[in-house]
């Protein structure tokens, strides 16, 4: 079958999801004191449609900045991002995004927070939205929490709510900025498998930012390594582990080898 063929060839599975082409991206921030910070310098990389790519790198190397430019939230100083065939100038309806902080609206219940993207879009019926919210709550292991308020949840629970919200509209491009940072190890591994199940099911294009190298190896088709001052991509590692990924792969020698290879590439 098609899927087996592409797996055998070590290629990303073909998908209807848009590819992302980051082209010669430069971003200069001006701080309040008037200094210029070069957050990104001439960064170029491509992500195929339906590919799962992680970005790792030291704190402050521009990972969140790249993501926010791809999302159309901020402009680049130079260069451009192509989403599919279109130059990104504003947020696209294809995208689901989970920010580094949970950013939940404290006056809405958990269920309404998750439903927010669909409510803003205004295409799904109330019943459809409610059903999807239940499904997502179960997925992030928060069944029964829907009527509580964000202020009543732990940090890890809030983060899972924000992940559910990112998935609400069944986006074909998923941008996630350290989404599992606040989770305990067990919940984190559960979330890995849930995320991979979603990815196996609908093959969205995923850009996944993390500080956890093992997590990046376990999830991704490719891992991009970034360096700071100025922010740029310094390595592009293909993860040719078989899919669907199984938890026991974490114990294998090639898994450890890939992790070590990436760790050696991260500047510190």
């Amino acid at each position: 079958m098609n899927m087996q063929f592409s797996q055998a060839a070590g290629l990303p599975t073909s998908s209807k999801a848009s590819p992302i082409h980051v082209s010669a991206l430069t971003k200069v921030f001006r701080t309040r004191t008037g200094d210029e910070v070069m957050a990104l310098a001439d960064t170029t990389f491509k992500i195929a449609g339906g590919e799962f790519v992680s970005i790792v790198g030291p704190s402050g190397c521009g990972k969140s900045t790249v993501m926010r430019i791809i999302a159309g939230l901020i402009d680049a100083s130079k260069g451009a991002v192509l989403l599919g065939k279109d130059v990104v100038t504003a947020p696209s309806p294809e995208i689901g995004i989970a920010f580094q902080k949970a950013v939940l609206l404290p006056w809405l219940t958990v269920a309404r927070n998750i439903a927010l993207p669909a409510e803003l879009e205004g295409r799904k019926s109330e019943a459809e939205i409610a059903a999807r919210v239940e499904q997502l709550l179960a997925m992030v292991r928060l069944t029964g929490v829907g009527q509580r308020y964000p202020g009543e949840l732990s940090g890890g629970m809030q983060q899972r709510v924000s992940i559910a919200r990112a998935l609400m509209t069944e986006p074909s491009v998923l941008l996630m900025d350290e989404p599992f940072g606040a989770l305990d190890a067990l919940t984190r591994e559960h979330m890995h498998d849930e995320l991979l199940a979603i990815w196996e099911y609908s093959h969205p294009t995923v850009v996944f930012i993390t500080h956890d190298i093992a997590e990046a190896v376990y999830l991704s088709d490719r891992v991009l390594v970034m360096a700071a001052r100025p922010g740029r991509v310094v390595a592009d590692i293909r993860i040719d582990l078989p899919r669907p990924r199984q938890a026991d792969i974490r114990g294998e020698a090639r898994f450890a080898r890939l992790g070590a290879e990436i760790r050696a590439l991260i500047p510190h």
Binding site: A71, L73, P91, W107
Partner: protein, 278 residues
């Protein structure tokens, strides 16, 4: 059947007993304390007036004031006056709040307009509103309109300024979230800014509702026609040198002020329940 009934009655009795021990008990205790405080105050007042041998036409004793209050109540004058003054306060409050919030929304959504109007707002805000009251009498006459106008003018600026500050206190992350999900301006206003501004709006209400009552009374003191509100009553008693009557009205005003404040606090608790840390 009877057994079940008996069981039910026993359960209710047990519940009641439990209530008495816990909640009802503390309520009774609190009420007792309040009553003792009140009686203590009245006693101290009486002792002071008698001990210092104050002329009752200057500072009346509690007995005279209560008598006066009683006479006002049974004659129906008090209820009528409360009705007039509360109308002025509440109508002025509602109009002032609507205008203040409305203009705040418009100005925060149209920065150009805000830049143009800002100096005027600052200048008008600095004018002592009570000093404008005579003008309101000239413009709107001696009826209720001039009182309402003063209430509006007192309330408008605190509400406007607070609401504007509230609308602008959204976090960058919240705005980025709304942008990422392509919220329209209207959606952002109703779903984020309105909620972020709400605590600021209620803070303004809390301060200005008692001010509104003061404004209504002051406006009545400055001039009123046939309608007799609480301020007008004070003026009438003043002309008759009836300080017991004035004291009686002051007590009523203080109770009204406390009640209005309690209503705003209760409303703000209700509408801001999400913002309280649990």
């Amino acid at each position: 059947m009877t057994d079940e009934k008996a069981g039910g009655t026993a359960a209710i009795a047990a519940t009641l007993a439990g209530l008495q021990n816990s909640r009802l008990g503390t309520i009774t205790q609190q009420v007792t304390i309040k009553i003792l405080q009140l009686l203590g105050g009245i006693l101290a007042w009486e002792l002071l007036v008698q001990g210092l041998d104050v002329d009752p036409r200057i500072v009346p004793g509690p007995a005279e004031v209560l008598q006066s209050l009683w006479a006002l109540t049974i004659s129906g004058i008090l209820i009528g006056a409360i009705w007039i003054t509360m109308q002025e306060t509440v109508i002025g409050f509602v109009i002032g709040a609507v205008l203040g919030i409305g203009l705040a929304v418009i100005l925060s959504e149209v920065p150009v307009l805000k830049a143009i109007l800002q100096p005027y707002i600052v200048a008008l805000q600095a004018v002592p509103k009570v000093a404008v009251a005579p003008l309101f009498l000239i413009w709107f006459g001696f009826g209720m309109e001039s009182k309402i106008a003063l209430v509006i003018s007192i309330l408008f600026f605190p509400v406007l300024v607070n609401t504007m500050a509230g609308l602008e206190s959204t976090s960058e992350e919240q705005m980025e979230l709304m942008k990422a999900y392509r919220a329209t301006r209207w959606q952002t206003l109703l779903r984020v800014k309105a909620y972020v501004a709400l605590p600021f709006v209620f803070a303004a209400f809390e301060v200005s509702l008692v001010l509104a009552l003061t404004a209504a009374v002051v406006a009545e003191l400055l001039g009123s026609g046939t309608l007799v509100g609480l301020g007008t009553l004070i003026k009438i008693y003043d002309a008759r040198m009836n300080s017991a009557g004035i004291f009686a009205v002051l007590i009523v005003l203080s109770v009204l002020g406390v009640a209005l404040h309690a209503i705003v606090v209760a409303a703000s608790r209700h509408f801001l329940s999400w913002s309280r840390p649990v």
